[in-house]
Amino acid sequence: MPDVDVIVVGAGPAGSCAAIVLARAGKKVVLIERGPFPGSKNMYGGVVYPRILDQLIPEWWLEAPIQRWVTRRSTMIMTDTKALTIDFRSQAWGAPPYNGATAYRPDFDAWLADHAVAAGAELICSTTVTGLLHDANGHVSGVVTDRPDGELTASVVIACDGVNSFLAKQEGLYGEFDAANYTLGVKETLALPKDVIDERFGVRGTDGVDIEIIGCTGGVNGGGFIYTNLDTIAVGLVLKLPKLAAQKQRPEQLIARLKAHPAIAPLVEGGEIKEYSAHLIPEAGISMLPTLAGNGILLAGDAAALCLAAGIWLEGVNFAMASGMYAGQAAAEAIRSKDTSVAGLAGYQRRLEATFVLKDHRKLRRAPELVLSDRVQHLYPEFATSVAERMFRVDNPEPKPGVRKIVAQERKRVGIRRRDLAKDGLAGLRSFG
């Protein structure tokens, strides 16, 4: 008999949701976290989309540790001296059932883990899982930890150990490693008085702002972001690893460059750095997806590369919560039917395919590559902003040129081939349309 029914490794959003489901299904579940408390190792940009929690914690918004509700979302395309912004506001997003919310991960992840404990899961912190145990048939049968006598056996192990998932790698569930599938996220949490944030970002109360930026990462392919918390703002970048490694500017220098941009400086000026942080993102979507189940093991969240990082979308927490929840359901089902082999755990893949988790990834499968492509990163920002500049510039006594003429001239000047523009436009329509 195994020690417990299920071991969940990692108390991030994926692990805690898996543990909640299993504990409520009456399974004996242990949730192991290497940090001193859940969330202590976790860093992200700043916005969670918790709608999926309706299925686990009704009216979660009454109790979740939220900073602000995002009611204003801007997408900014910039060059060193210009910026073109699409600015969207919806007051509906500031009231139940809400849309996105800013939150600190050490708060949010700890809160979610509390729900797992309340449901009956046993949470063990300050414990690093160092490997998987296997039975005579090669099925995963438990984990090894760095505690004295630290072996623990279970019918199923759910690996929710994040982007580096050494458990998935040990089990051979990933294909060939490619650093180009990953981006480095770096950010600064800057302190500013609440009324200053409200004024600069044009919001009141607990309304908040999400700004996504393209064209702000120098020679590195990637993107930038600014999110408002109550009395801090998060400013950061995501940077494609091989490109970052192949040039000269360090991550914090690239952040300094963004903060100095004329469109950004007035927003961040005077903000005192409260915390500098970094974390990796699995960025390549469906094209890097590992095998999601093995005999006695399931992968969920970033460990399964299920983070959706498609340019103006950076959603990982909701994909982690959902995949963790479905992994928990599939594991409970497999234990009930006394078959925890790959075949017995097939309910996991089925659930992911039937819901947004894999549907969104399949729909947006071309998006990560397109958004991080050299043209979108290094040519289109100059093209779009210079078209805007010429449209809004008054060149009297010259008459106004037609928009078509401006577009054709700027396309040529920037050096974009018509063929490529059409191709990327089509790829964009296919992925986002």
Binding site: R34, G35, D146, L184, L241, E252, E269, E275, A278
Partner: protein, 99 residues
């Protein structure tokens, strides 16, 4: 290049804003012999914690203490055996607060 309109803080002050519960044994070990032959040195520019420092004799000085445990270094390094990478013992290492 855009000039910063206000002074940037030193890297020491920057990394000092994050909290680390340092264990006495290193979770990442870098083999200086491998690094000595490396001309590309991806780790130096990419490590967000600036922990890989080139020395005057062409080597690499590495200190594990103020590490984000992100994984960037072992991913960008192309040399087999240069970096032995593990998580710190449970409960040790970086502790994020407002991230």
């Amino acid at each position: 290049m855009i000039e910063s309109p206000w002074p940037e803080i030193s890297f020491e002050d920057r990394i000092g804003t994050a909290s680390f519960n340092v264990h006495h044994t290193a979770h990442i070990v870098v083999d200086g012999k491998v690094c000595a032959d490396c001309s590309t040195r991806e780790c130096i520019v990419a490590c967000p914690a600036n922990l890989f420092v080139p020395t005057s004799d062409g080597g690499i000085l590495f200190n594990y203490e103020q590490c984000f445990e992100c994984g960037t270094c072992y991913m960008v390094c192309n040399r087999e055996g240069a970096i032995t990478w593990n998580y710190p013992e449970g409960g040790y290492g970086v502790v994020f607060k407002r991230t």
